[in-house]
Symmetry: C2
């Protein structure tokens, strides 16, 4: 018999159906056996009556067994209706159970485990409703991201990850043994390729893995993550980029409200409201404000510290009722060589960070589009312009004023859902002591 | 004045507008100067009359200069109408030109150049209508790919590229110097993660870069490419996967027909028709056919050679009017350890290749879902099961019968457009002697 999805059972009352899925829970109750079955569309309760020909098999079946079940879809008696729960008003009276795959579980699914145990057992621990909700939300974020940019005339492109040299001249890069003993590196961002592509399509975006060889052990850093990037030509300045990102964030939030309502409820999180504009403040003004209000003098610091980011987000929420805030005009010294210096504010750049719920989720800004100016920027950072001759071709053959942003999909997901650690929003996190379980690399030592 | 996109000029007749874009061509004709301007939405002809205040600047402007132009949108006189060409019935009478960025080009854009020159100058050579058409088509393929799989209940996920060991135990892998002198590798496919995720979402897909450390110098191989992968649970056998891929290819083709008509025309290529089913044939039957029809005896070969793939595609076109053909049942010896062996046909697998216009574009099949059977498969390939303990967790905790496919986005694009070399459909190809121009790695030697 054709498989019926569990999500469609509520239209099959009084019919015999075949479902296929996993056993989430088995409960013995006297001579009857109850099950919660699940498939990709949801859950349903099954009951095996003592007289059912399935009763013997039912007693063998354990949690996480994969089964094919023939049963009758019955309405539950009024008193047993589980209101507000999927299929809470029906029940599957099990006629036959076929075991497709057996299972042996390390602990009960959904048990409270610490993060290391969770990560060490992800092929299993990812199966809980909460974990599935996190990665459903992540899939919807990236879907909304692409749909919005497509609607604004951006073209997607595929950026290489094997590169000659470190693009940004900043982050630490992983070295790769390339063919014929050449040395390549792993891209820390698609930045230079995005800019090249502005010369082709004006507006481009790309999504994909990037790599950072940093020995962090924090709740916000990863050694490999999904960077969702965009770049646009013919801008007035960085504020055009900020306006586009504001519309993007509004679109993503609207999409999440319509597609992930259940998931946000399950995770006890709220989709933020994004107004017509997001408040923005210059770094130096932000530091002045922090000094005035908290007495902490960071007015000469080149960047915000985590506690400053948290404070500014609280301020933005309090004063502007916004979960987001742009901070602009970071000093030239703290930004990559291609960042545009503000002629009106020498020493500071037309760049921005977007902060959200206490943390930076985007870095962006206007870029230098004039070749001489760009080369000067590289030299000032001690970089050898000869290393960038491929990239420079785009500028030599004519590029308009342009800018863009990059953001980490995992961090964005974590902040939307108020997760304490970015690793909870990552499949499968790489960090200082983890590549899966590192078993396979350990053996090589 | 607000920028008007060139694609909207045909609605602005008799109005003064500002356009911004590149100069594709400048032509002097007596005392007048003609231009072709382009932006991301298309091209338009501009004319600078001798009396125009823009005439002096117009004479300075060269190809690929980025300009902002104020002009009047005029109807062309009947005899000058360029029918069938975008904006062929209008002309921009230029009032002012502002040079935004100057340009210096290595050769005329669109000149016939050899592949190496093309690749060495991609930041410039990508700007021709043909190259833009190729990567527009590529963007639409991946968009259609995701949209179809979403509509079939597949969930997207992000697969890591830094892995402990070589997943497939076959292709050569690149080594990465990981943190604390550990050794990691670059994924040759997301295979094992896809299978893990079947336990979570049943149906999943992922798109992203994969890496092959092979010293190929062919028209069909790359050392880094975009793999578009899918995996689905609760299948009957490999034919369910083939059916899903048939529907996918039909959807992609329909999408290309509606969105990329101009691009296919420009590149002189046809979008193939995909029927209700795609013909399929077992490897041994195919070899028998080849022997019978050509006299070449390859009936004991474990795989098809390129000439066989070409012959089978011609046969499929001739006999079944199909540009596509599935070849199934490759021997166990030629397939990765996780491939399902056909109980009815021992020594052969429930696997398939999809051939399209003379070349394999997909490898797929059913996988082993029983842990003992999977471990046996690994051992038979001389692999140490201990290296796969993370992956095995998914099987230990219950996986249904499942299967899927992987395909290379660049190769698929190249075949849709009849391009001679896959590198023509790749941004930015990595091969035995190319990472961009390898300038930056050369200096390290």
């Amino acid at each position: 018999m054709e498989r019926t999805l569990i999500g469609e059972l509520n239209t099959k009352e009084g019919q015999e159906v075949t479902i296929q899925g996993w056993v989430s829970v088995r409960r013995d109750q006297g001579k009857m056996v109850f099950f919660d079955f699940r498939d990709r569309t949801g859950s349903v309760q099954g009951v095996v009556l003592p007289k059912s020909e399935a009763i013997e098999t039912a007693k063998e079946v354990r949690n996480e067994y994969v089964v094919s079940v023939v049963g009758m879809v019955n309405k539950r008696p009024e008193k047993n209706v589980n209101a507000g729960v999927q299929n809470g008003d029906i029940e599957l009276e099990v006629k036959q159970i076929e075991i497709i795959s057996k299972a042996e579980i390390p602990f009960e699914l959904g048990s409270e485990v610490n993060l290391d145990t969770y990560l060490d057992n992800m092929p299993f621990t990812l199966r809980t409703p909460k974990q599935k909700a996190i990665f459903k939300v992540q899939a919807e974020i990236i879907k909304a991201y692409r749909a919005f940019l497509n609607s604004e005339g951006f073209t997607e492109f595929q950026a290489p990850k094997l590169i000659g040299d470190d693009a940004e001249g900043s982050g630490e890069v992983f070295e790769v043994k390339y063919l014929y003993d050449k040395t390549a590196h792993l891209a820390t961002s698609p930045q230079l390729y995005k800019q090249i592509m502005v010369g082709v399509f004006e507006r481009v975006f790309t999504t994909g893995n990037v790599f950072r060889a940093e020995k962090h052990a924090t709740t916000r850093h990863l050694n490999e993550y999904t960077s969702i990037d965009a770049e646009m030509g013919f801008i007035k300045d960085h504020t055009d980029v900020m306006d586009m990102e504001t519309k993007l964030m509004r679109h993503i939030c609207e999409h999440l409200r319509t597609t992930c309502n259940e998931e946000f409820k399950l995770l006890d999180a709220q989709v933020p409201e994004v107004g017509e504009t997001i408040p923005h403040i210059k770094l130096r003004e932000a530091q002045e404000l922090i000094f005035k209000e908290t007495g902490k003098d960071k007015r000469n610091e080149p960047d915000l510290e985590p506690e400053d980011e948290r404070w500014l987000c609280e301020w933005s929420k309090r004063e502007h009722n916004s979960d987001f805030v742009f901070v602009t005009h970071y000093p030239v010294s703290k930004r990559p060589f291609y960042t545009y210096e503000d002629e009106q504010d020498p020493g500071f750049t037309k760049s921005f960070d977007l902060l959200f719920r206490g943390i930076e989720i985007t870095t962006g800004g206007q870029r230098r589009h004039n070749l001489e100016n760009l080369i000067e920027g590289a030299k000032n950072k001690g970089l050898d312009p000869n290393n960038f001759s491929y990239y420079f071709q785009a500028f030599k053959t004519g590029l308009p004023p342009h800018g863009g942003w990059g953001m980490g999909l995992e961090r964005l997901t974590a902040k939307f859902l108020n997760l304490a650690n970015v690793k909870e929003a990552t499949l499968f996190p790489r960090d200082i002591n983890r590549i899966d379980t590192l078993l396979s690399t350990d053996k090589k030592e």
